[in-house]
Assembly symmetry: C2
C-alpha cells in the first residue's frame, strides 16, 4: 500500500470540495429547483468555502426537449449569470457534459466570455476517445477540465489502466474515480486511488472522487480516498443525488480541518430549504434496496423503480434481483 | 500499520456477528418489544446464521423498578426460556451487565442451569477493577465473558493501555473496542484496533467492536476494524440502537463472505416488523444532530433530547453545542 497523505489533523491545500447538489441532485427532481433555492445555495457555498459549485448539465437541446426539464439540465450562460452575476468570488463554477449527449462544439463560449470555469466530461470507459476529443476542445476554449470515468467497478484492471494511460497524455486537469453503483468498499477505494495516483505521478494532474451511497459508504469512501491523495471531492447537501445519493457535504466539511471551510451557513441552508424538497416528494438517500444493487455491482435503476413505486416487499425485491443476475 | 487479516473475499472463521437489536435497540423503546417480535427475531437470527444474540440487560431490580421497563431490561431466565426453550441451536445467547447497575452476585445462575452463554460486562475505563471482579465471577459460574470498555475516545492512550494490560491478565474472553460517541473515523478505528490486537497477541483472547452511527460511519468502522483482526462484531437490525444507532446488520451480512450467513430471513423480518416500530414513534438512526456530538466527541444526550423534542433548528443547535464546549 502507498502511504497516506497527511493525517487526520492536516490541512491539505490541494483539496477542493465540489458541490454537486444541483447536478446529481437534479436527477431526483428533473432539475426543477426554484431560483431562490439555487441563489441561496450559491451564496451558502461561497460562505461555506466550497471550492467549486456544479450548476448542472450542458445537455444537448437536440437530444432533450427543453420544455421537459428544469433549466439546470442545460445550464444556459444567461441562467447561470442570473444567479451569480460575474461570480466575483473565490468559488469556481462547473458544469457537466456527457459524452454523446452534449453539443460541445456549438454550446460552449470561449472561457473569456463565460462565467463557467470548469467543464466535467462524463463518460463510460469505451467512450474515452470521444471524451478526449471533448476535453481537448474545452481546454482550447480555456476551461479547466475533468474526465469522470463512470462505472469503473464494471471494468477490468487492464481497461482502466489503458484508459488512464490515454488520459494522462491529454490536457485534462483532473481524472475522477467514480463509484457509480456505490459498490466499492473503503479497501477497494484505497486500491483504486493508489492506481489512479500512480498514473498521474510526476504530472500536474489531480485525482477526484465521486461517491454513491448505496451501501452507506459514500462519506467513508470519500475520506478513505482523500487519505491516499485524492484532491477533488464531490459532495452534496444531505447527499442529494440520484438513488442513494452522494457523499453528504455536511459530513465532509465536519471532517476537513482547513479553517476556510465553514459548516454553519450550510446548516442554515439545510434547515431552511431541504425539508421543503422532501415534503414535495423528492426522494433520495441510503435505503436497503440500494444496498442490494451496490452489493451486486449493478446500475441502481431497479432500486430507483422500487422506490418510485413505494414498494416495501424488500425480501421479494432482493430475490428478484438475484434471479436476474 | 499492522497487516490486514484476510482480504475482501476471505472467510474468517473467528468472526462472530452479535445481534444487539434488543439490548441497544431496547434503549430506544424502553425494552418494550412484543413477545412476537422477540420470538421472530430469535428464529430469524438462527436462520440468518447470527452467532450471538443479546437479549438485553441484567439490570439490578434494586436500582431499577421492574414496572417501569420492558422485561428485556432484566432478562429473567424464565423470560428468555419462554422465547428460546433450551436454545437447541448453534446460536449463543448473551446478556449485558453494567458495572454498578447489576446485582451480579445474586442474579446469575451457574451456567449449567442457565440458557445464557455469554455475559458482557460494560464499564467506563475507571471502573475496570470493578469490571474485573464481575468478569471473574461470571467466569467462575461458567459463562463466556466480554469486557466492553465504553467511551474510549475520551480516554488517554496511557489509560487505555493500562486498562488493556489489566484485562489481558484476567479470564475475559473478548475485549471490546466501543465507539460510544460515534466519534471515530476509520483511520482512528484502525489505529485502536491495532493497539488492542497487539495487547492480546499470543493469548487466546479476541477483540470485538461496537460501533455507533453518529457520523454515518458505523458500518465503515466495523469493516475497517475487522480487516485488522477484530473477531466479534456488534450489529442490529436497521442499526436500531440508542441515538444514531449501531452498525446495520443487513449491511454487515451483505459484506461478509462466509456462506453460513444468510441475508434473506433478515430481510423478511425487517419488512414485517420494523415499519411497525417506526410507526409507533420509535426513533433511531443517523441524522445531523448526531453528527455534531460525534464530531465534538460528546455523549449524544443533547442530540437525543433535540430529536425527542422534534426540533428542526439545526444551525442553532450546533451553535449551542459549540457554546458549551
Amino acid at each position: 500500500m502507498g502511504a497516506r497523505k497527511g493525517n487526520l489533523l492536516s490541512v491539505r491545500d490541494d483539496i477542493k470540495v465540489l458541490d454537486v447538489t444541483l447536478r446529481d441532485g437534479g436527477l431526483c427532481n428533473n432539475f426543477e429547483f426554484s431560483d431562490e433555492f439555487v441563489s441561496r445555495l450559491y451564496k451558502t457555498n461561497v460562505r461555506a468555502g466550497i471550492d467549486y459549485m456544479e450548476f448542472g448539465y450542458k445537455a444537448s437541446k437536440k437530444v432533450f426537449n427543453e420544455n421537459e426539464y428544469g433549466k439546470w439540465k442545460f445550464c444556459n450562460e444567461e441562467d447561470i449569470r442570473a444567479i451569480v452575476g460575474t461570480n466575483n468570488t473565490d468559488m469556481k463554477i462547473a458544469v457537466m457534459a456527457d459524452v454523446g449527449r452534449c453539443d460541445f462544439k456549438t454550446d460552449f463560449l470561449p472561457k473569456s466570455e463565460s462565467v463557467i470555469d470548469m467543464v466535467r466530461v462524463a463518460c463510460y470507459i469505451h467512450q474515452i476517445p470521444a471524451a478526449i476529443e471533448m476535453i481537448e476542445h474545452f481546454h482550447s476554449l480555456g476551461y479547466e477540465t475533468t474526465c469522470n470515468i463512470m462505472a469503473i467497478s464494471k471494468s477490468s484492471s487492464d481497461q482502466i489502466e489503458q484508459a488512464l494511460e490515454m488520459l494522462v497524455k491529454t490536457s485534462v486537469d483532473v481524472i475522477y474515480l467514480v463509484d457509480s453503483y456505490g459498490s466499492l468498499y473503503p479497501e477497494n477505494t484505497a486500491d483504486y486511488t493508489q492506481k489512479y495516483m500512480k498514473i498521474v505521478e510526476g504530472t500536474n494532474k489531480l485525482i477526484g472522487f465521486h461517491a454513491h451511497n448505496n451501501q452507506n459508504l459514500a462519506f467513508a469512501n470519500t475520506i478513505e480516498t482523500l487519505s491516499y491523495g485524492t484532491s477533488f471531492l464531490d459532495a452534496s447537501v444531505q447527499g442529494m443525488g440520484r438513488g442513494a445519493g452522494n457523499c453528504q457535504i455536511e459530513l465532509l466539511l465536519g471532517f476537513l480541518k482547513n479553517p476556510k471551510y465553514n459548516l454553519y451557513p450550510l446548516l442554515q441552508f439545510m434547515e431552511k430549504y431541504m425539508p421543503e424538497l422532501r415534503k414535495n416528494g423528492v426522494v433520495w438517500g441510503y435505503d436497503i434496496q440500494y444496498m442490494f444493487t451496490g452489493l451486486l455491482n449493478r446500475h441502481p435503476r431497479e432500486a430507483i423503480a422500487y422506490t418510485e413505486q413505494k414498494r416495501t416487499d424488500v425480501a421479494e425485491f432482493y430475490h428478484s434481483l438475484l434471479e436476474n443476475e
